[in-house]
């Protein structure tokens, strides 16, 4: 449900040059405890609870953006570690779907709209679950800080 580009972008270190397309984007060596989502969640907590209160102005805004990015990474890792059925989204070939809609080959019916909504809601669960209306709310809400998400 997430583009491979996004994975690559998340794993790129600040300041490094963009990865060549087609380069491997992940390793399969398992880490020791704590799990990476736990590590990042804790890093985010330190940032929000201890660092942020001391910041003002542009630095505060930047720290909020970092917290926001970390929140997305945590939620995406948590979702990836769940069994596919619990993640709740059936795989959809979005490129084919977009092409079919553009070519007017996909009728604008209830099924199409349900698919579009579920794709969108699934992505919002990661990017900004607080933005979802009640009817689309996830069972639990990590309540992200939303710099750069207004």
């Amino acid at each position: 449900m997430t583009h491979s580009h996004d994975h690559q972008d998340q794993q790129r270190r600040p300041g490094s040059t963009p990865r060549e397309s087609g380069a491997p984007s992940s390793r399969t060596v398992a880490n020791h405890a704590p799990a990476t989502d736990d590590l990042l969640a804790e890093a985010r907590s330190v940032l929000v609870d201890s660092v942020l209160p001391a910041l003002r102005g542009a630095e505060r805004y930047q720290a909020l953006m970092v917290a926001n990015a970390l929140g997305m990474a945590v939620r995406e890792l948590q979702q990836a570690s769940q069994p596919p059925t619990e993640a709740g989204v059936e795989p959809v070939d979005e490129a084919a779907l977009a092409e079919a809609i553009r070519r007017r080959k996909a009728p604008d019916d209830r099924a199409l709209r349900a698919t579009l909504r579920s794709l969108t809601v699934a992505r919002l669960h990661i990017n900004n679950p607080g933005y979802l209306h009640d009817r689309d709310q996830p069972p639990r809400d990590l309540n992200p800080t939303d710099a750069r998400s207004e």
Binding site: H3, H5, D9, P14, G15, T17, P18, Q62, M65, V66, N68, A69, M72, E94, A95, L97, A98, E99, I101, R102, R104, D108, L112, R113, T115, L116, R117, L119, T120, V121, R123, L124, N127, N128, Y131, L132, H133, D136, A147, R148, S149, E150
Partner: protein, 341 residues
């Protein structure tokens, strides 16, 4: 910075005919993604603007956005808006001689106030004050929209070829989306919907192109200046109204559909009173949907700047992750619009 301030001071001494000028304050202003904005306060002795004077200098940035106006064109638009009675900083001097500061710039008066969308949406105003500010936004747009291509000014501004702004925008955003090379079925669907449900086009008028909370100054609850004219164009007046009312510009105050400030019925009532133009909620809702698609494709372009390595930036990267919010708003907007009919 100090050298730039002195160069601008010398320029303004010459333009005002003062016999002496002193720089009291010089600082870079926020909110210029496309150009550099500076606040410059001078103490001028004699001339046309004697005493302590606060100016804003808008300078071309090294890399412009292709679709936005350059400083000379923007200066002309600002002049036309000023002459039409829109509340804008008074445009004073345009300098196309790059020998002065290295880039083209113009100088305008500095208006007081705050443009921060977040601050305005959180202001905690009374309903009376909110209605007054929304009414003011409506009268500002009505004044601007009285300027028509037949007036003979601003012939350089873009206009949709066949006068149909909605279909021109759909075609433009399709081109933008195709160039992004990333599948966005919701936006493709939204573009089809917008193509199929376009209301009858209205006569083209001068549109601001980015008329939203964040681009006007408010001081003590009063609008003091409409800013950021680089996206001005001849277009359907509903494009400005829809952009102002887009869910993307409410800064968390989602119950106030007009830019996080107030309500749509107040906006449309006053717009009608000031312009004689009746706008139906359906028509406005259509252009709100258009606004969501526009911001989504612009946000995708911004994210590409980061992902391509052209301009590595956390803010641009997060803007890419915000596109899904616009897609979600678009689905809900079209659902709500269909329920209106």
């Amino acid at each position: 910075m100090a050298e730039l301030a002195e160069a601008l001071c010398d320029y303004l001494v010459q333009k005002t005919g003062a016999w002496h000028g002193q720089v009291l304050a010089f600082d870079r202003l926020s909110g210029g993604a496309i150009q550099d904005n500076f606040g410059l306060t001078l103490d001028l002795s004699g001339g046309s603007h004697p005493g302590e004077r606060a100016f804003v200098v808008r300078q071309d940035a090294p890399s412009g956005v292709a679709e936005s106006l350059g400083r000379p064109e923007e200066f002309a638009v600002l002049r036309a808006a000023f002459d039409a009675g829109v509340t804008v900083p008074e445009p004073l001097w345009l300098c196309e001689d790059t020998a002065v500061t290295g880039r083209r710039f113009y100088v305008m008066t500095r208006a007081r106030g705050n443009a921060s969308g977040r601050a305005l949406a959180k202001a905690g105003w009374s309903e009376v004050r909110r209605r007054a500010l929304v009414a003011r936004l409506a009268t500002e747009l009505a004044a601007l929209h009285r300027v028509q291509p037949s007036s003979g000014v601003l012939g350089f501004l873009p206009a949709p070829e066949d006068g149909n702004a909605a279909q021109a925008r759909v075609a433009l955003y399709r081109r933008y989306l195709a160039a992004i090379n990333e599948p966005h079925p919701v936006l493709e669907w939204g573009l089809n919907w917008l193509e199929d449900h376009a209301p009858a086009p209205r006569p083209l008028v001068l549109c601001h192109g980015d008329f939203r909370t964040g681009n006007y100054l408010v001081d003590e609850g009063e609008l003091t200046a409409v800013l950021d004219w680089e996206f001005a164009a001849w277009s359907d007046p509903l494009e400005d109204l829809g952009w102002l009312c887009s869910p993307s510009w409410r800064f968390g105050a989602s119950e106030y559909e007009v830019g996080g400030i107030g309500h749509i019925n107040d906006l449309l009532d006053t717009y009608f009173a000031a312009s004689g133009q009746t706008v139906s909620p359906q028509e406005l809702a259509y252009w709100q949907a258009m606004a969501l698609v526009r911001w989504a494709v612009i946000a995708l372009q911004q994210a590409r700047r980061h992902c391509s390595g052209e301009q590595r930036s956390l803010e641009l990267a997060l803007t890419g992750r915000m596109v899904v919010q616009m897609e979600y708003d678009l689905l809900n907007q079209i659902d709500a619009l269909e329920a209106l009919v």
